[in-house]
Point group: C2
Chain length 499, copies 2
């Protein structure tokens, strides 16, 4: 059946261009849209259309018959038109942003080779490259030995930590399961990432067996509360096995005090993991690495290079300080068709059985290329600039009438309320906070529909909806910061919240 949607005709037609011609045209389209227009900010950040309406605009349906390539090119143009642009200089909605051409070139190169990373035999260069990159990342953590691997995202890296800590604590669980075991309990802060909950559920530990330790007023886990919780857990028959500290919480950017937590973990013999998915990149910076003082005492680290370092998604390292064999022993299944025992080369370079994946994308190359191109110094300068942007924004906000800073920035997160003039006269009480809670969603809706920028908001504990600005994009300048503050004012100044 032939259908016509938005001028695109689906139907039987012989190919009017070769595969290479199609590929060349796609390259030109991608270069124009994702590099020339997006990185220069010559397009909207978002071109918001509601889901049902967007479904009608796009010819997404798959058919029995082939679609001619020129029609596919038109649909790809539409895909660009309606996609949000994380590479745009005004995208601040998530903990990743920007477009690094060295990183993208590396990503494209590994995609074009299309390797899978499990054996030296099929990925010789990438195996050595991952080992080198992991070694350098461990050095930045102050780990003198250990192991590491790229995971498909920080959440799964945190699950690796949980599983390896469990294996260390009680290796027979791998064979026997959790039946008949003491109830294992893990500890993390109330501001930790939600992957800890997902992990405890997925690993069969149960979310009830997480103790969410109270944070201080700026979002850092309180060590005395942690220790009290550990003692209470033991008293109640639970077995503490895993503490997750956070370096750079998702919303506030808070850094838990690693040294104080390490003291407790060492005293009680508990595996200490730090989820530095967001904040780990301070390890490059002489100025800011003190925020992770004590990291060398942790047992493992999650650190996403695709966040503050601007590496294309995904690039999430799981690093372990323990003996090199623990990750292999904790995860191996020794498939005889892949990890043959009679190969002609040194099979210690078949690193795949450390992973819970079988096929695994190569994430090392893009980071390696960027790192070669910038050196440690280059990353340091970029990270310092992001911190300076957040400092500049906080200072600016403190001077502006309609803005109220939630707290001083600790990472590159800046959290604040915009209080429109219409709310300024309401005294701070239930009515004020209830109305203020409705402001950020309206500003968000307006920025999405205007397409000028994207920034996130959320409530947190007792704090009603506030805006969370994050600096993750290399390209953002202090002039951009000034513009952002003005733009929020422009979007929000006429907001009136009805009673």
């Amino acid at each position: 059946m032939e259908t016509i949607t938005n001028g695109v005709i689906n139907g039987k037609e012989s190919h009017s261009m070769s595969d290479r011609e199609f590929f060349q045209k796609m390259y030109e389209l991608i270069f124009k849209e994702a590099i020339e227009k997006t990185t220069a900010g010559k397009c909207k950040v978002s071109n918001f259309v509601h889901p049902q309406e967007l479904k009608e605009k796009l010819d997404l349906a798959i058919k029995d018959e082939a679609m001619p390539p020129e029609n596919i090119l038109k649909l790809c143009q539409q895909t660009f038109d309606y996609s949000v642009k994380p590479g745009h200089p005004r995208f601040f909605n998530q903990l990743f942003a920007g477009q690094d051409l060295y990183g993208l070139a590396g990503q494209w190169m590994s995609d074009a080779i299309n390797p899978s990373q499990y054996t030296y035999e099929v990925s010789p260069v990438f195996t050595l490259m991952e080992l080198e990159v992991m070694k350098k990342l461990r050095e930045l953590c102050g780990y003198k030995s250990g192991d590491g691997i790229f995971c498909p995202g920080g959440s799964i890296a945190n699950m690796y930590a949980m599983n390896i800590a469990r294996y260390k604590h009680c290796p027979q669980i791998k064979q026997q399961g959790l039946y008949g075991q003491a109830r294992l309990v893990l500890f993390t802060s109330e501001h930790s990432h939600y992957s800890i909950k997902k992990g405890a559920a997925f690993l069969g530990l149960g979310t009830d067996n997480i103790v969410f330790v109270k944070c201080d007023e700026i979002g850092r886990m309180m060590p005395d509360h942690l220790e009290k919780a550990i003692i209470e857990t033991k008293h109640n028959g639970g077995e503490p096995f895993f503490v997750v500290a956070t370096s750079g919480t998702t919303v506030l950017g808070a850094y838990d005090r690693l040294d104080a937590i390490a003291d407790i973990c060492e005293a009680h013999g508990i595996w200490m993991h730090v989820d530095a998915a967001w904040g780990g990149s301070v390890l490059f910076s002489a100025k800011y690495r003190h925020l992770m003082q004590g990291v060398e005492r942790t047992n493992s680290v999650t650190w996403c290079q695709h966040k503050m370092m601007g590496v294309p998604l995904q690039c999430s390292a799981f690093l372990v300080r323990e003996e090199e064999s623990i990750m292999h022993n904790g995860h191996c299944a020794a498939a005889s068709y892949l990890f043959q025992k009679d190969k002609f080369y040194d099979m210690s370079f078949d690193t795949g059985d450390k992973s819970i994946q079988c096929s695994r994308k190569v994430d090392a190359l893009k980071l390696w290329i960027m790192w070669k191109a910038k050196g440690n110094r280059g990353f340091e300068a970029e990270i310092n600039q992001k911190f300076e942007n957040s400092r500049h924004m906080a200072d600016l906000i403190k001077k502006r009438d309609n803005f109220r800073l939630l707290m001083e920035p600790q990472c590159t997160n800046v959290t604040f309320w915009y209080v429109p003039p219409s709310l300024q006269s309401i005294p701070e009480g239930p009515e004020f906070w209830e109305k203020l809670a409705k402001v950020a969603p309206i500003i968000k809706e307006r920025m999405m529909k205007n397409g000028t920028m994207m920034i996130g908001y959320q409530p947190l504990g007792d704090h009603v909806n506030f805006i969370r600005m994050v600096y993750a994009n290399h390209a953002t300048t202090t002039q951009d910061v000034d513009w952002i503050v003005d733009e929020i004012e422009r979007l929000g100044h006429d907001i009136v919240i009805a009673d």
Copy 2:
């Protein structure tokens, strides 16, 4: 410190080219190497160098200072030189192969946009696209409703199945963990993929609680043995909750009889999952979909489109027939900073909480572009051709003196021994098999060092090392098949195994 390695000088130099110039040169390099040379077979499949020696050839070390772009380009050229080429027409080492320019263009496009897939807000088009692609995949499975998501590889998709089956069986495990629960037992065939073991360990179920059901002589799980095992497990106080059938085993390509297994699962009320990571693509083929007869009765499916369909890595669907909410309920953690409850659009399109990941790469676009370009019919033709290649090879092997077919192909896997003339006079007994076991590794070493092709080998049960050929590459012709058989003969005919 300045070092010179292979003519590449690392040191301080100001950038001699802009980022865009570097990117353009990288594009040219990638196009020349990965497309022009690799897909035309104008280079070796592998250029094998032992790990320690390769380390010395490559300047992998990361430094404090930046490396000039022209030196990075040279290192990228080296990376191509020493990388194995899965896109080469003579690469048959894994269950994926080839280079599809529509797929690669799609991969490059999503990389260049660099989205993460969790909310409609940041990935509007890709959210709808994933929903559409999942719907079509479910239709091919004969599922009338349900849900689906792309996972980072088939192994993790199998773990999703295990977790969702557990959630269905006993939802409170998500909160309470496995403590105090009946011992949950899962069943799979002795030829199933090793991810089932990894999953049982990772999910806290324990590998001892897997029953590996005996297979028949061609590698299919024996339903009567399965039923017996289920009854015995119940008798011994275990609680059967999950059966994994396999459609296309990794080595032999065997298809378990889904209908017979479904009868048993239905009778005992057990979740039936089918790991069709490798073999699922027969669902496109009128000629071969009978191999999965009964798939519509399963509760869930793993199916990697990056395998037989030739989509770039990674593209692994997890599909579930159950009510749409089960995957969300089984995995959700409801992070308030991401899945806000007061958004201005229909939040049912924020699909990310179905996943155990937070950041998640977009895997839908590349498949969608390929599917649009080929239609169902195009994929059907490609898959039929791959089956014909395997039939052609098996017929050829049966006619050749020094080849011995292990068994008739069931999927596109062809398994056989090469018996060099020097072994032909030895009677079939322990000496013969012991010597024959050493032949395949030598052929593999020779093909790696010659670089002419790559094919895998392994032992299996009582069968000593044999060669496993797999057809996954669209580009392979019957002429190539003839060449491969001759090449194995060339590499192996003079092998003599010392006593």
